[in-house]
Structures are given as structure tokens and as C-alpha cells.
Point group: C2
Chain length 356, copies 2
């Protein structure tokens, strides 16, 4: 019985193996046409929505306008040097280009600043899921010790209330609130603004059927991205942001990133052993223009980051050409920074506000 | 003889005194009409030019475009956190709102950041004349220890040369240079950009003859500004920037500003005893929206700064209403931040540049 069971199991395995092999050949034989690649990309990723709405925080023009201003407001930080734009400067695709973000009084943040572009539709903000949404991130940032560093919400609200232009704009944005100038509403306004920040790119044109939107190398890179298994985690319209994953499934990441410190990731939030080294899978849109890479900014070049990911997540040794192809594909995810983010609003004057 | 000389001298003095008194009465009697005030303002200040040209550094569109980008470039600073925009953030009228500017690694600069708006036509940049022009300021900033903090010009040039988009833009801006990517040309590009940053305001409309551009309080304030003698130093289209003057002619300034430290001013540059406590007279355009005040940012409110200036420079005790009137007049010098400064250009990507 046991032997025959093993034989049956072995026969099934062989059949499955042959079937898989034939399927792979069939896909390979079929992969030439752009149409197939487009269809596959659409199935895995899907079109980029025009905004990233939220039931809890509907996007309104009044909130977006206020949020756009507050994004640049540094006077609500403890040393008056930190605004959202400090760690997310518009000219650098809303990431700061530092290994780890620098907050008030030059305090180093624990991890690298992700771009806020296409960021609001993720399962959480930041790397380890300690911010549930972009609103929660904005809310926590004002009192975060290495961020704005304010002692409490009241101190932030006092500053905003002292500038009549802000009071009027909060009233317009939150007309049903008796006392609209709150950190809660600050967070909603900034969040609503961030929910508008999407950056369509050549890859979206490609998914819409314009095969020439991608170069031949970029198409090869996309194919390799799909065949290697990168899309197992980097899926959705944002190519990421939808799940947590262990960094270093196959081998410890620090072996390749040469990270000075080992970050235990989401374990810090949950204290659950299973969450050790778990990080939110980052969004890959604009990844080519937002180095350095990984939660600790330990790697400078995109192609190097691709090689490391294939190695430690998938146990694959990419050929140099393959990594360059994937990097080329990732360049097709570079869009244009939205004009609203590139345009700094004039901020309310403080002369008579006595906010110091 | 001596007695008669004294008598003659005394008689002349009396005649002069009466003449002065009558003249003052005549001016006072005449000062009602807006036309007289407009004429007097035009004579003292004059129209605001559309730009602030320089024979050494002609303004060209190519330089301005490049300079606009470089203004936001933080990757040429030693800790990658400092760009021109750090101390001159566009949303706060290109001043940082800090008492003293904060540079790389949180180093405090010796003095307050002046706005760069309407700044390029001054006799020098900064407070004590240690920067001869806006170009000289940009040139010195990149290696300035509390500013960008780079070890030398070559290290800056290496970073810029590694980004092909910058190389192309430097070539366009400096077509006759064999090796255009230099700190010298960086400074010229940033300077050319700054030379375009002028901000016409209601006061310019007033000087053009539109009497209603100023409120009645603002007109009273202008009258008091002229009558008190403020314009002795704060003259020209920029209401300042044309001379050095001792801060504290009548009394030591720190008695009123409560400054923790006494700054010897231009003496630090010239080592000339006569330059002790001499500072460049600051431009007053946009002064109402660029607190805090004075070289050390020691005073928060504009009206307080006005009271102190009258006291220590002119020995005058302004009535509270007079100081408020002058402050109201100074609000008429608030223009609009130029769109070019409020618009952050997308900066060249660095992925393959190896600039770290």
C-alpha cells in the first residue's frame, strides 16, 4: 500500500512537472507579441486610478487646498524647520534622497523616507505598519519626536489658530465642525491632498495598449519582472503597498545590503515573532528617481537593489543584463510630479500672531 | 570782535531756526493731499525695476532656468539636506522664519536669513558685507561651513557633472565655456535667477499715482516714516540695501532687542574700529511677512522692531499709534512671491550618477 501510494504520488508529480514544463514552454513560445505582455501586465497590475479616495476622508477641493498649504508649513514644528516637504521635497519626487530622514534638531528617523506620490492607497503608511493611513501618518508626525517634535496637539492647534487665514480655510474645509482647527483636521487636509498625488507614466500608456511606450529593453525587463516572481509582492496599480513581506526570505538581507544595523521590522509594532524582519512591500512607482533603496537606504543603485531583491527574496541569481533590464522597466514607472505639489502656496503671515 | 561774531552767529542761527520751523510748518500744512505724499515717495524711493541686472552677469533665460533648478538642489551639500531653498523657502517669502539660519548638520549660522526677493540690487549680500553680490553669496555658500559645507568646489562640480541633464543645461547657459560645469557658473546661474525676483506691491501702485492703493493708516505711516527720518537709511526702490549703518547710533541696540550676544557687525570683515556694530541696512520690501527682525532675529513683531529702530537709530520715542501706522505702511511693501520661485523644477535623477 505504502509503496503503491508512493508510486502513484511519484507518477502524479512527474505528470505535474511535465505539465509545468510544457506550460512554461508554451508561454515562452507565445511571449513575443506585445499584446500578450500588455494583457499579462494589465492582469497583474491594472490601471492607475485618477486619485486614491477614502471613505473616512472624502477628497474635497477645500481640504486639498488647505492640505497643500499645510504640507509646506514648518512653523508647526518644534524648531520651525520641519514641514511635510522636508522629508518629501517636491523637486526630488517627494522623497528626500537621504538614507534615513532627518527631522527636528537633526534627529535621524529610524527609516528611509518613502515618496508620498501614489502612496495613499497602501495598506499602511511607513515601512512597518505603524501608521494606518496617510492621515494617520500626518496626525502622528506633528508630535513624533524625530519628526515635527511638538509636545502635544494643542501646541500645534494654538499656532494654526493664531493665523486668521488658516482659521478661515479650516472652516471652509470642515464646515460642519464647531472647532475645525484641530490636528485631526490638519491630518485630514494633508491626507486629502496626498490622495490626489498620482503620477501616470509610460507604463500606463503601455497597459492601455500603446506598445511603443516601452523600449525593447523595458519590455524584456517587464517580462523578467513577471517571470522571476517580483510581482508576487509588487502587484496592484502601485506595484506594491498591498502586503507585508519578510525582507530576506531566502538569506538575511544584511549580507547583501551591508546594512550596519539589522532592523526587526514589523516586530517592533506587534511583538509577534512571526513579524520579525517583515516590512511593507514598497510601491515601485517612481522608484528609479527616489534612491537610495530599502528601509534603511543602504543601497544607492537601482540595478543593485534589483539583484539583491532577486537573491534574498526569491533565491535567484539574476544575470547582469537581466537586472539592467528590470531597472530599465522600473524607469517606465517614472511619472511627472503633480503641478500642485511643485507649486508652493504662499503661507499666512505670522507677524501679529505671537506664535513663538 | 569775539562778542560781535557770537552775536552775528547767534542771529544767523536764529534766522536758520525760524526758517526751518516755517519750512516744517509749510510742509505740514501742505502734506494733506495725496499728490504731495506720492511726489515725496517717488523722490525718495523711486519705481521698482522689472529685474536687477548686472554687467558682470547678464540675465539670460538659459541661466535663469538652470539657476531656478539649482536653487532647489540639496545633493550638492555635505549632508544632502541644504539647498538655497532651505534658508529661503518660497512659501515663507524666501526667508526661513528662524532667528538664525540652520545649515548642514544643524549648524547655526551667525545671523538671520534675509529674503532673496528684491535682494540682488544691494551693495552686498548678507548683513555685514562679507558677500559682494548674490553671485558671490551663492559661490561662497557651497563651501561655507555652516551652509552647504562641501570640502571644496571640485566636490560640488563632480556631483553636478555626474548628472547628464545638468551638464547639458550648463552648456546651454554658458555656451562659450569649454568646461561650463563650475561653481563659478553655478553662482552665475543662481545669481541670474535671483536677479529676476522682484515683487511689486501696493506701494508701487501708490507711487504710480493710485492714491487708494494705500489705506489712510498706511499713508499716515508713510508720512511718519518720512518725517521721522527712517528714509535716511531706508531709501531707494528697495527701501534699503544701499549703505552700511551703525545699529545703535543713539543707544546700544541690545538694550532694547534683549539680544543674548552683541554682534560687532562689519568689524568682523574689515577689523576697522569704525565698522564696529555696522550692518548693511536691510531691504524693507516684504518685511511684514519675513519675521523675525534684525541681524539676530531677536524681535518677533514688526511694530516692536519699528519702535526699537526709532529709539536706537534716531533717538525718537514713537507713540504706539505711530509705530502701528509705520507697520501698516510696511505691509504695503508686501508683494506676491514670483511664480518661478513658487514652482519647484523636477531635478535630474541620480540613479546611475554614483554621486554618494
Amino acid at each position: 500500500m505504502k509503496i503503491s501510494e508512493k508510486r502513484v504520488s511519484g507518477a502524479i508529480s512527474a505528470v505535474v512537472a511535465v505539465f509545468v514544463f510544457v506550460s512554461v514552454l508554451a508561454i515562452a513560445a507565445h511571449a513575443g507579441p506585445d499584446e500578450d505582455l500588455i494583457a499579462r501586465a494589465k492582469a497583474v497590475f491594472g490601471p492607475l486610478p485618477a486619485s486614491m479616495p477614502s471613505a473616512e476622508n472624502p477628497i474635497t477641493p477645500e481640504k486639498v487646498r488647505l492640505g497643500n498649504m499645510l504640507f509646506f508649513e514648518s512653523r508647526i514644528s518644534v524648531d520651525r524647520t520641519v514641514s511635510c516637504a522636508k522629508c518629501h521635497p517636491p523637486g526630488l519626487y517627494a522623497a528626500d534622497g537621504l538614507r534615513k530622514a532627518i527631522g527636528n534638531h537633526c534627529k535621524e528617523n529610524p527609516r528611509n523616507s518613502p515618496t508620498i506620490l501614489n502612496a495613499a492607497a497602501q495598506i499602511s503608511a511607513h515601512w512597518i505598519g505603524n501608521r494606518t493611513s496617510v492621515e494617520d501618518q500626518a496626525r502622528q508626525a506633528v508630535t513624533g519626536p524625530p519628526a515635527f517634535g511638538m509636545p502635544n496637539n494643542e501646541s500645534v492647534e494654538k499656532i494654526l489658530k493664531a493665523m486668521p487665514e488658516y482659521v478661515a480655510l479650516f472652516k471652509k474645509a470642515f464646515p460642519n465642525d464647531k472647532d475645525p482647527v484641530t490636528v485631526e483636521n490638519f491630518a485630514k487636509a494633508v491626507g486629502a491632498f496626498e490622495r490626489t498625488l498620482v503620477t501616470p507614466s509610460p507604463f500606463d500608456d503601455f497597459m492601455k495598449g500603446k506598445a511603443r511606450a516601452l523600449t525593447e529593453q523595458q519590455k524584456r525587463g517587464l517580462q523578467t519582472f513577471l517571470d522571476t516572481g517580483c510581482m508576487t509582492c509588487h502587484f496592484s496599480s502601485y506595484l506594491g503597498g498591498q502586503m507585508y513581506q519578510k525582507f530576506g526570505i531566502i538569506e538575511p538581507y544584511q549580507k547583501y545590503t551591508k546594512s550596519a544595523q539589522v532592523d526587526e521590522g514589523r516586530f517592533a509594532v506587534t511583538k509577534n515573532e512571526a513579524d520579525k524582519y517583515m516590512f511593507k512591500v514598497p510601491v515601485l512607482r517612481n522608484v528609479a528617481v527616489t534612491p537610495p533603496y530599502f528601509h534603511d537606504g543602504s543601497v544607492d543603485r537601482l540595478a543593485d537593489a534589483v539583484v539583491i531583491m532577486a537573491k534574498v527574496q526569491l533565491g535567484r541569481d539574476l544575470a547582469a543584463g537581466q537586472a539592467d533590464d528590470i531597472a530599465a522597466f522600473l524607469h517606465s514607472l517614472t511619472g511627472k510630479v503633480p503641478a500642485s505639489l511643485l507649486t508652493t502656496p504662499e503661507l499666512p503671515p505670522e507677524d501679529e500672531a505671537g506664535i513663538r
